[in-house]
């Protein structure tokens, strides 16, 4: 007997669109064994530094296999407090204002679940990380996309924020530097955004996962601006800066009542993050900074290489101030960004992700991740140049 299993899927889940990234992944997966150079990844090419891996092995040898406190190991929270204070200039109490999560993704989900009532409106800048809109939809809240533009190097502006604002907006999600655009805001731009948030009584969820990979100037956290710490949930993690994506460790810092509410959801759903990964994260904070700087310097040179080559090829591209993504425009290529990405993959075996996967404002752009070796980047750029040449004929 055949049963229509689909009818059991909740309406709001069935209504979620499939990730554009997923479609493209399947296309690339079909070309296995064909010497594809992928600039389609969203993670470092470096393996986690050995001293961090070794700390996890040591923890296992010592029998550290238990649950931890729901908030995370206190030693780790203390180290996080120290790190955030030193690098972001904001102080949090390790006992009550920091929650260790399974990646920043869980922290985002927790914050939205803890804060949103059905129908609340959540603003986020777009193009943005693929999960922002679905995470908002999953808590029955409404997403309000705020466009960012190539002319501003994809920095979020207070003007765009004001233009997109509608009554009922409660939260603003920030991701600066941004995946996929590499866009970020300087202090002046952030101050204008902060003033707007205070004016409209918005709570800020600030996902600063790429902040260590800031190549020019210093990264400013919105939480560090006057009057903002009390209305900001600062979200961060280890995946990008410490090359620890697979460990799944992130954290949220914020006012105690908010962290407490998030912790409630966390304790009933996740209980705690893996103790082994927490031990590794602690080692990363205590002794990992040199590795972070070395990796950042390499990303910096790789960025300069791809941005220069892309512009020479006619893929107009600003130099992203942070992250490891270039977000060039395909407007000179005479085809849509989707056709460009598919054609480039078929003809020259280079994978980039169509910008439309990151929201409507990503149209006409592709995301190219430069977390790949110099040799691969050079070959990839040569292939892209050849492909662009065939399009212009």
């Amino acid at each position: 007997m055949s049963v229509d299993s689909k009818r059991w899927v909740a309406g709001h889940v069935a209504a979620l669109p499939k990730s554009g990234i997923r479609d493209f992944f399947e296309l690339v997966a079909k070309m296995k064994g064909q010497d594809v150079i992928s600039l389609g990844v969203g993670e470092p090419d470096f393996v986690t530094p050995w001293h961090i891996r070794e700390a996890a092995i040591y923890a296992l040898e010592k029998g550290k296999t238990y649950y931890t406190s729901n908030l995370g190991m206190i030693e780790l929270r203390r180290a996080i407090a120290g790190y955030v204070s030193e690098h972001f200039n904001v102080s949090y109490k390790p006992e009550s204002e920091i929650l260790v999560t399974v990646g920043v993704s869980e922290a985002i989900d927790l914050a939205l679940r803890a804060l949103c009532n059905p129908g609340d409106k959540v603003m986020y800048h777009q193009p943005c990380y693929v999960s922002y809109h679905p995470s908002v939809a999953l808590v029955h809240a409404q997403g309000v996309a705020v466009p960012t533009f190539a002319k501003d190097h994809f920095a979020l502006t207070a003007e765009a924020l004001r233009a997109a604002w509608v009554p009922g907006c409660k939260i603003l999600m920030l991701n600066l530097p941004c995946n996929p655009t590499g866009g970020t805001c300087d202090r002046v731009q952030l101050e204008a955004i902060a003033a707007f948030c205070r004016e409209k009584d918005l709570l800020v969820m600030s996902d600063e996962i790429y902040s260590e990979l800031t190549f020019e100037g210093t990264h400013t956290s919105i939480a560090s601006l006057p009057g903002m710490q009390e209305r900001t949930i600062f979200l961060h993690g280890f995946s990008k800066a410490f090359a620890m994506t697979g460990w799944r460790i992130g954290y949220a810092c914020g006012p105690e009542p908010l962290i407490d509410a998030m912790m409630k959801v966390h304790q009933y759903t996740m209980l705690c993050a893996s103790i082994i990964a927490q031990e590794a994260a602690l080692e990363a904070l205590l002794r990992g900074w040199d590795s972070v700087c070395k990796m950042r310097d390499q990303y910096h040179r790789r960025r300069d290489l791809v941005v220069r080559r892309f512009n020479e090829i006619g893929l107009i591209c600003h130099a992203p101030r942070g992250s490891f993504y270039a977000f060039p425009s395909t407007q000179n290529m005479g085809v849509s960004e989707k056709d460009f990405a598919v054609g480039l993959l078929r003809e020259e075996k280079v994978a980039v992700v169509p910008g439309s996967a990151f929201g409507a404002n990503g149209l006409g752009h592709v995301r190219a991740c430069f977390a790949t070796s110099y040799e691969q980047l050079i070959v990839a750029c040569d292939r892209i140049e050849r492909y662009a040449g065939t399009l212009r004929k």
Binding site: R301, L305, C381
Partner: protein, 162 residues
């Protein structure tokens, strides 16, 4: 800092053409930087990193580390003797050390006998050498920054991720 030197410090193994691409200079300019670094005796030269335990690569099948105690000279300290020692072709590297001995010498040879002969006939008979202690290397696990016979799983990275 010299942009080429930065790349060299990464432990890179790029060709001059690739270096030119990475730092955004012409090949000729990269070459010029390399020449300057050579002139300044910062960049001493290129060498391949080989796994010498492999039969195909066994040009120098025997490697030894020798601890050498010497009498420092008035005026010259350890330098004169160390510089003299370093000139032997058999000596791959030579360092002045703190601690229980003075010089640490890495020696390559095609056979055990040749290395032993070098130590007994050349090294220990040098004026100023008080004693030597020779250790033969049995196996290499890491060579010049490269792991030997250990696979890193970085190739398992997915091709497209958010």
């Amino acid at each position: 800092m010299n942009p080429v030197l930065k790349l060299l410090l990464e432990g890179g193994h790029l060709s001059t053409a690739q270096m030119a691409q990475v730092v955004g200079l012409s090949e000729a300019e990269v070459q010029q930087h390399l020449e300057q670094l050579k002139k300044d005796k910062i960049f001493l030269g290129w060498r391949p990193v080989l796994d010498l335990s492999r039969a195909e690569a066994a040009g120098a099948a025997v490697r030894a580390v020798i601890e050498v105690k010497v009498t420092p000279e008035r005026g010259g300290g350890f330098n004169r003797l160390a510089e003299r020692l370093a000139r032997f072709d058999e000596v791959e590297s030579c360092y002045l050390m703190s601690g229980g001995y003075d010089l640490l010498v890495f020696v390559d040879g095609s056979s055990l006998q040749k290395v032993a002969a070098f130590v007994s006939e050349k090294l220990s008979t040098l004026e100023g050498v008080l004693s030597t202690s020779t250790h033969f290397m049995l196996r290499s696990y890491k060579e010049g920054g490269f792991l030997i016979d250990q696979n890193e799983a970085s190739s398992t990275r997915l091709t497209v991720t958010p």
